[in-house]
Symmetry: C2
Subunit: 282 residues, 2 copies
């Protein structure tokens, strides 16, 4: 099996492939590139309370090492069907696999000035994770998609004020909510976020939440069914291509740790069955 992506979903798939005695290679990137790496506090993944994203990712890598998961660092540029399964272009190599699990996450393009700098320093992508840090404080939500409405609802119940910036004004009318039709150009601050610039104005705030569109998944594989930028999967994590499974953020909302780990396990078990049914080694 080849697993493309070494985030939580990919590593959960990997340890479960090994638990099923399968040979597996994970093709991924350094953990520092994970969005989770910069999370200030994660408290909604059962059994691992009150941890930073970095601590969680480190524990995942340690568990994977104990289980002898092999991780190769680099980028997969294309996946092609071959007689026995699939060929993956990986850096300067071709890697062959009987089956592939995609756990490639989502990419966040169209970076706003300051976004990398302030992520984890007042900027968050997850109100469920970080919202409580801003209880009774003033926050700004910038949303490119409808999901932002739910974050606004949630945050306006716990924060002193919420300024909601979007090109799609939500149907929420509360005293502590201000709605701005626009797009931010720059995050302001020193060590920590202090405000955001929108069309010339500056809005001061204690914290920022971004709810952003993901980009179309790169056309890694010809013919893979994708809708709303998410790979379409069954409840058993099967894609429309036999032998290719997907799990984690690349299968769509919600973009959450517990979900990624659960989907990784299911993808691995289903991939194990696929190999049992389709590859005769005896």
């Amino acid at each position: 099996m080849a697993i493309v992506g070494s985030g939580p979903a990919g590593l959960s798939a990997a340890i479960n492939c090994i638990a099923r005695n399968r040979s597996v290679t994970v093709l991924g990137r350094k953990i520092e590139t994970s969005m989770l790496y910069k999370a200030e506090l994660v408290n909604n993944h059962l059994g691992m309370p009150n941890m930073t994203g970095k601590e969680i990712l480190t524990s995942f890598l340690e568990h994977s090492k104990r289980m002898n998961v092999e991780i190769k660092e680099g980028r997969v540029s294309q996946i092609l069907p071959s007689g026995q399964g699939f060929m993956l272009s990986f850096e300067n190599e071709i890697i062959e696999a009987r089956s592939v699990i995609l756990s490639i996450g989502i990419s966040k393009p169209g970076e706003i000035t300051g976004e990398s700098k302030y992520l984890g320093k007042g900027l968050s992508y997850c109100a469920t994770c970080d919202g409580m840090l801003y209880k009774n404080k003033n926050v700004v939500v910038y949303s490119e998609i409808e999901e932002g409405t739910f974050e606004l609802d949630f945050l306006s119940n716990i924060c002193k004020s919420v300024t909601y910036i979007s090109h799609e004004p939500p149907n929420i009318n509360r005293e502590n909510v201000t709605i701005i039709n626009g797009k931010p150009s720059e995050i302001l601050g020193d060590e920590f976020v202090s405000g955001i610039r929108v069309e010339g104005d500056v809005i001061p705030c204690d914290g920022l939440f971004f709810v952003k569109k993901s980009v179309p998944i790169n056309t890694l594989i010809n013919g893979l069914h994708i809708e709303d930028n998410a790979i379409i999967v069954s409840r058993l994590m099967e894609t429309n291509i036999a032998g290719i499974f997907a799990c984690g953020d690349c299968t769509g909302y919600p973009y959450q740790l517990s979900n990624a780990i659960g989907e990784g396990l299911v993808a691995a078990q289903q991939c194990d069955r696929f190999l049992f049914n389709n590859v005769k080694l005896d």
Copy 2:
């Protein structure tokens, strides 16, 4: 929100309801009644390597306590629709909730003599979890369903011998596999499993794996769609009844920890959205 069931799926749902600032009550049973409680070793839940079922459940309860999850011990006997949501008959009380998350697990009826006694002492329900403990040893698999074939395939690759007892003989022909058409009547042993009785014969073994049918989910709720003893859910854990969600083992195969936790999170988030869209408190 009311959550019925206090296993991993239910507790994951509970902490995520609280992370979304919702009021929630968990109606469940003591952790000692969980099948996971007796697991000897769990190594395939990412981030929590090499733990017993009891250790894992204890850490889940601690996390839930930190998040102020309220757990009431007892049994829900019926759920009825009411004007504002649902009414749950719980012991001698009626509990009202706007929405319900079912995480009721599966029950394992038709106990074979010795089953409770030897669970975790040579008897396991999960080859993925415990198979490696019996590497190069002699094991018996008793299966009531087709899933048993996958466990046989897996175990016959790592164990010295596998005796497979079932009324549905599998299509596997290997030197170290013996197939018996039948049903066991008794587990034999002293402190630890030493064998199993099948139609008068005794088969000695080092370990036992049971792959059993679950029973029809009790008709807790009128009209709930169920197939193959699992509650039918969408990828977002919605059942066919608006306001009722389900997660964990009661939604079907695979019966695994990571999966239960992931589904619990998704059910909680979707339930949060349901309340946002359908219950106007402002």
